[in-house]
């Protein structure tokens, strides 16, 4: 086998690893955000929270770099010409999700919303649903590259969790607006919930895009 062929084989393996690493980082960012939100509800804004926000930012930065490297590699090596557009769209959509995670983390650290402790359980449930939805999306994305026929299960879960998160967010909003707090505080707290809901919506949008990509990939 020629040196060039060995290089190409090596290049493909390295790109596969890069894609896996990229997806790992997104799944990790989701877990970090869950940890961060849990910590915020229990301890408020402290040094540990700032450390967690810093880690989310670092993940976001690394993800953006990986996304750019993958994009350049796919174009310069003229790889997967038929599916390149779909793959790049997926990578960018996942990068946008990372952006939302970063914004949510920074938002929490800067605005430090005060929620009634009685809402903590439901708030944490929403965060868990959102992060689980992203986790299933990452699993489905991984399957898209190897066994696209098996990803429907995870895509279905993303849709289900988004719906559940929606319902819970509405319930929480009602609870927030039923208090005697000033209206600006109520709106402010609801904004935080809306941002979480947006993240779940985005995950669902990416899942829908992925299921179309799977139809296109079908042999």
């Amino acid at each position: 086998m020629s040196e060039r062929n060995i290089k190409i084989f090596g290049r493909i393996s390295s790109l596969q690893k890069q894609i896996d690493k990229y997806l790992d980082r997104i799944a990790e960012a989701a877990m970090l955000y869950q940890q961060l939100f849990d910590h915020f509800l229990d301890h408020g804004a402290d040094d540990r929270l700032e450390e967690l926000v810093g880690r989310v930012l670092k993940h976001k930065h690394k993800c953006s770099n990986l996304c750019r490297e993958l994009e350049i590699a796919l174009y310069t090596d003229m790889l997967i010409p038929d599916a390149r557009g779909d793959v790049l769209e997926l990578l960018h959509a996942l990068d946008d999700l990372m952006d939302l995670f970063k914004d949510l983390a920074v938002d929490l650290s800067i605005r430090q919303p005060r929620f009634d402790p009685s809402l903590n359980h439901d708030l944490m449930a929403v965060v868990k649903m959102v992060t689980q939805a992203v986790d299933h999306l990452v699993k489905a994305s991984r399957l898209f590259f190897s066994d696209y026929r098996a990803m429907q299960h995870d895509l279905h879960k993303v849709g289900f969790l988004e719906g559940e998160a929606d319902d819970l967010v509405n319930k929480l909003k009602r609870q927030i607006f039923s208090t005697d707090d000033p209206i600006y505080k109520k709106i402010f707290r609801c904004e935080i919930l809306d941002n979480l809901d947006d993240l779940a919506d985005s995950a669902k949008d990416v899942a829908e895009m992925l299921s179309i990509c799977a139809i296109k990939r079908a042999l």
């Binding site: 190409i8 493909i12 790889l79 010409p81 793959v87 590259f145 190897s146 066994d147 042999l219």
Partner: protein
């Protein structure tokens, strides 16, 4: 050697050029069109393998074509090849899909008519039957191959990038085999009519190896085909890819392999002898249309996908193609008759 010989051979070379420009697209069109293989790589592999196929495997199919009509004069061969080439060029310019094999068969029938010789009905019907068998066989091979490759992909679940890489290698390998088969099968179209009046003499090469006069003729034809590949096939390759139906790279690979298999079936003396020794039927060794094989294979894949695939096939394009298949031999026969009349009565050439 009389240099005027090359003037007579020029029509064959012209036909070779148009075969290279058009039929190379059947082998590498889907690969280049989908940007899986660079044009330069495709053209080089295609030209080299085509020349090898023409020189070392071209005799079988040419012999089959010779049974239809033995054109014994150079002027006659020139006119027959010119009529076929003109038909190919005229129909290509008119945007009609064309088969070089059908054009040359039509032209030979035109020569037979002009020379008031009876065309062997058995041979003609055998050739005409391959025009039906070729796309049908292409479809059957494509359906079988597609199912096998699909099964392998589902079983091993390769990463998208790895699948892409293996498909790329497969396309290059299948393209090389396809080019060899195209050279072996279709060189008869280009130079077959010149074989009985070949101006070359056997050339001793290395040791016992002799480059026969026919092989030299075929090599010349293969060079003309190669020039056609390099100079004009890119445009055709870029459009042939999804002309009839959008194809995935895996489907493109299946189409090229199925096409190569069809051409191999109709040009391999080894396969013919093996079939006969096994007591099975004798496969006719005749130049067949690579376009028909490709179209059959594409339709085969479309049908395999059920209603979704059938709806993806552009049926109007297919009707157009079928119309072209019917028109080509008739047009070539008429044109050849007219050209022979002109050659004999205006240029005073002995054409029969």
């Amino acid at each position: 050697m009389d240099p005027t010989i090359f003037i007579f051979l020029s029509s064959g070379l012209f036909l070779g050029w148009s075969l290279g420009a058009n039929d190379a697209a059947n082998v590498f069109g889907t690969a280049v069109g989908s940007r899986m293989v660079r044009f330069g790589t495709a053209a080089l592999i295609c030209s080299v393998c085509l020349a090898l196929g023409a020189v070392f495997g071209g005799a079988g199919a040419t012999h089959g074509l010779g049974k239809l009509g033995q054109i014994s004069t150079l002027a006659g061969a020139f006119t027959v090849a010119l009529s076929a080439a003109a038909t190919v060029m005229w129909m290509t310019r008119a945007g009609l899909p064309v088969s070089t094999s059908q054009a040359i068969v039509g032209a030979i029938v035109g020569w037979n008519m002009f020379a008031q010789l009876n065309t062997d009905k058995a041979v003609l019907s055998k050739i005409a039957m391959t025009w039906i068998a070729c796309p049908v066989l292409g479809a059957v091979f494509a359906m079988m191959l597609y199912q096998i490759i699909k099964g392998i992909i589902y079983l091993f679940k390769p990463h998208l990038l790895r699948q892409d890489q293996l498909t790329r290698y497969g396309l290059v390998l299948a393209g090389a085999l396809g080019s060899y088969s195209l050279g072996a099968n279709n060189i008869g179209n280009v130079m077959g009519v010149f074989v009985p009046s070949s101006p070359f003499t056997d050339l001793p090469m290395y040791g016992d190896w002799i480059l026969t006069s026919t092989q030299q003729l075929f090599l010349l034809g293969a060079i003309a085909i190669g020039v056609g590949v390099f100079t004009y096939s890119k445009k055709v390759m870029m459009t042939v890819g999804d002309n009839l139906m959008p194809l995935s790279p895996v489907a493109a690979l299946v189409v090229v392999v199925a096409h190569s298999m069809v051409l191999f079936v109709f040009s391999s003396t080894w396969l013919q002898e093996t079939m006969v020794s096994m007591g099975l039927f004798k496969i006719p060794l005749i130049p067949v249309s690579s376009s028909q094989a490709v179209i059959g294979a594409v339709i085969g894949i479309g049908m395999l996908k059920g209603i979704k695939g059938v709806r993806q096939i552009r049926w109007m394009v297919l009707l157009n193609i079928a119309g072209g298949w019917m028109m080509t031999p008739i047009a070539a026969a008429i044109l050849c008759y007219v050209f022979l009349f002109v050659m004999q009565n205006v240029f005073n050439q002995v054409v029969m």
